[in-house]
């Protein structure tokens, strides 16, 4: 018997019941309660630059078309014909004026409105009200610094409120250049037989794995063995991890602007970053440039790194499988040579063939395999790293943070997950979070006294 869904994780004590990664019933509820009610990443504007440009992506398991409109806005709708449910568009990307279903020919415009029904007079006696049979529209779309997010929920807070303090960490990377970033064209997609939360949680909260899991990555990057212990050196560096609203971000701190870019081993890139430091400092603070350089997740499944310029969505495909969709982001105004340096190093480290990436998938697939065992599935996982050592608004960083080697953000991630899975309304969740924060403040006062 599966325990009640709201008892599967205990964020206060750092317990995770592995059924959250394996149970089909839990997964079905996730599609409705988590993916159906959260803000999900749809596209970056650079993927659909001109009117009629579209990409197909997913919200959970639902295929959606994201389309640049005639007025320059971006809209999205379910890639499903309202007649018998056929996919309206079967390309990953392209440019179009209409989307015509290849089953019976119902045609939809760029907004998803039904505009043509073949044989309308003979077959429907002109009695069909086309205005009622448009593709299902994503009702709320938010644009934030060139990124588009969508939600099916009428109640989820506005996107910036949903981000909360995470905005500081997002802006540090994507808000530092006057004209923002763009994605290198083309998506790396691959399938990992693991639950989506392993990936999402790791990018929210796990600096701890790097030293062991990625032991070989620096061997690939550097010929000189003196560099091979680099991840161990990093663990001596100061750093913090942020967690809030289910999101997470963690970094070791750089000691100078441009330090994070030194890994690219590209003089052109380093020179460009240094030469444009003033522009970055006009847009974000020096603190942001120095202290936000690592892993990040916006709940539930959108992640990026601030060192290697990789960005990805973990699309769920059942309790035991994900599709990873990954891109490289580059400063829009950088010269081609600099963009190429970002692209090459990011792909060498974090493409599906990347020297870091391949070892992550190995861990997650093995865990999922082990969880086939009945005992293994009914075990308890330990998520207690740094428990009771959170602080708020310290070191110049907003929100609840702890040491970089912590699972504070993971506990926050699972707390938000649990609240949504329990079916709590967004206003209930906001109240609960406020109460939790008050309790946290009390705890901090007691400790200080």
């Amino acid at each position: 018997m599966t325990p009640p869904v709201n008892e599967l994780v205990d964020a206060d004590r750092g317990y995770i019941n592995p059924l959250v990664f394996t149970d089909q019933g839990v997964y079905e509820q996730e599609l409705e309660q988590v993916f159906g009610r959260s803000w999900l990443f749809l596209a970056h504007g650079s993927q659909v630059p001109k009117r009629g440009d579209f990409i197909q992506t997913y919200m959970g398991e639902d295929p959606v078309l994201v389309v640049r409109q005639k007025d320059g806005s971006v809209k999205a709708f379910l890639n499903q014909c309202r007649h018998r449910g056929m996919r309206i568009c079967r390309s990953d990307q392209g440019t179009s004026r209409t989307f015509t279903c290849s089953y019976h020919g119902w045609a939809y415009d760029l907004e998803g409105n039904l505009v043509n029904v073949p044989q309308e007079e003979r077959a429907y006696r002109n009695e069909i009200d086309k205005s009622k049979w448009g593709a299902l529209k994503v009702p709320r779309i938010a644009e934030y610094k060139g990124f588009y997010f969508g939600t099916w929920s009428a109640d989820v807070p506005e996107f910036e409120d949903y981000l909360g303090d995470m905005a500081y960490y997002f802006d540090a990377v994507f808000g530092r250049w006057d004209n923002g970033v763009e994605l290198v064209e083309g998506t790396s997609k691959w399938v990992i037989d693991c639950n989506w939360k392993f990936a999402s949680e790791q990018f929210a909260s796990d600096m701890y794995h790097a030293e062991v899991s990625h032991a070989s990555a620096l061997i690939a990057l550097h010929e000189d063995p003196a560099f091979w212990a680099g991840t161990s050196h990093q663990t001596l560096m100061p750093g913090r991890q942020f967690g809030g609203n289910g999101h997470g971000s963690g970094s070791f701190w750089a000691d100078s602007i441009g330090f994070s870019e030194s890994m690219y081993n590209s003089p052109a890139l380093s020179e460009w970053v240094t030469a444009n430091a003033d522009e970055a400092l006009r847009n974000v603070s020096e603190q942001q440039l120095l202290k936000v350089a690592g892993h990040n997740t916006i709940f539930p499944n959108f992640s990026w790194l601030a060192g290697p310029a990789t960005m990805r969505v973990w699309h769920p495909r059942g309790p035991g499988q994900i599709e990873v969709w990954a891109w490289t982001y580059v400063p829009k105004d950088a010269p081609d040579e600099v963009k190429a340096a970002y692209r090459r190093m990011t792909q060498r480290t974090f493409s599906p063939a990347g020297s870091f990436e391949t070892d992550d998938g190995e861990n997650w697939t093995e865990i999922q395999q082990v969880l086939r065992g009945w005992k293994a599935r009914n075990n308890t996982f330990n998520a207690q790293m740094g428990l009771g050592h959170d602080e708020r608004d310290v070191h110049g960083l907003p929100g609840r943070t702890s040491d970089a080697l912590s699972e504070s953000a993971a506990r926050g991630f699972y707390q938000r997950w649990s609240d949504l899975m329990a079916g709590l309304s967004w206003s209930d969740i906001a109240e609960l979070d406020a109460a939790r924060q008050a309790k946290e403040a009390l705890h901090q006062e007691v400790q200080e006294a």
């Binding site: 290198v184 083309g186 998506t187 997609k189 691959w190 061997i219 690939a220 692209r343 998938g361």
Partner: protein, 198 residues
């Protein structure tokens, strides 16, 4: 043998380039044989995890590259496979390719430790001699991978190589790979990672 290959290459300069005119290649038997044996030898080195020997088969200026791919309509099919400025799974120079070899032989590259078992089938070898004496070689590959207890996956696609003749007696091989583009048939790779070399 090297001299013969160079000669036969030179004799075929009038042959149309790939993609223009007839798809049929009038390659002489010796060249065809030497190229096929070279590709088989390379596949053997990889299947036997002899990476340190394998890396010697690549030229100093090699671009070893596997672009991403997407589903596009027939009308937009020329944009299906990424170009050099767009996304790639692999985009290496010799220096980084050597880095991959260091990683694979490190004992701590967990996606290949314990190593995968692979079996490479290289077929449909088509050769077009170039003006500079190098050979443009297209081949199909089917790489089966078995991993750990029961994981298996397949990489199927086409490789576009440029082979540069070298002294067979000095190196043990008649060519080095001066350029390699690997085009996979899948747009969503049905594998947890591309941790093997292609």
């Amino acid at each position: 043998m090297t001299a013969m290959i160079e000669h036969s290459g030179g004799a075929q300069r009038d042959q149309p380039d790939a993609g223009a005119g007839s798809a049929y290649r009038r390659t002489d038997v010796l060249t065809q044989h030497a190229v096929e044996q070279f590709l088989y030898a390379e596949a053997q080195l990889l299947d036997e995890h002899r990476y340190v020997e394998w890396i010697e088969l690549f030229a100093d200026d090699v671009h070893y590259w596997a672009p991403t791919r997407m589903t596009r309509t027939h009308r937009e099919r020329d944009r299906e496979i990424s170009d050099v400025h767009q996304s790639a799974y692999i985009d290496d120079d010799l220096q980084y390719l050597k880095g991959r070899v260091r990683r694979l032989t490190s004992g701590v590259a967990w996606s290949e430790e314990p190593p995968s078992r692979t079996r490479r089938l290289i077929t449909n070898v088509r050769i077009t001699p170039r003006e500079d004496g190098e050979l443009a070689v297209t081949s199909n590959f089917y790489v089966y991978r078995s991993r750990l207890e029961r994981h298996e996956d397949w990489c199927v696609g086409e490789r576009f190589d440029v082979l540069r003749p070298v002294d067979l007696d000095a190196t043990g091989y008649p060519y080095v790979v001066a350029d390699r583009r690997i085009v996979l048939e899948q747009t969503t790779l049905l594998m947890p990672s591309l941790s093997i070399l292609l």
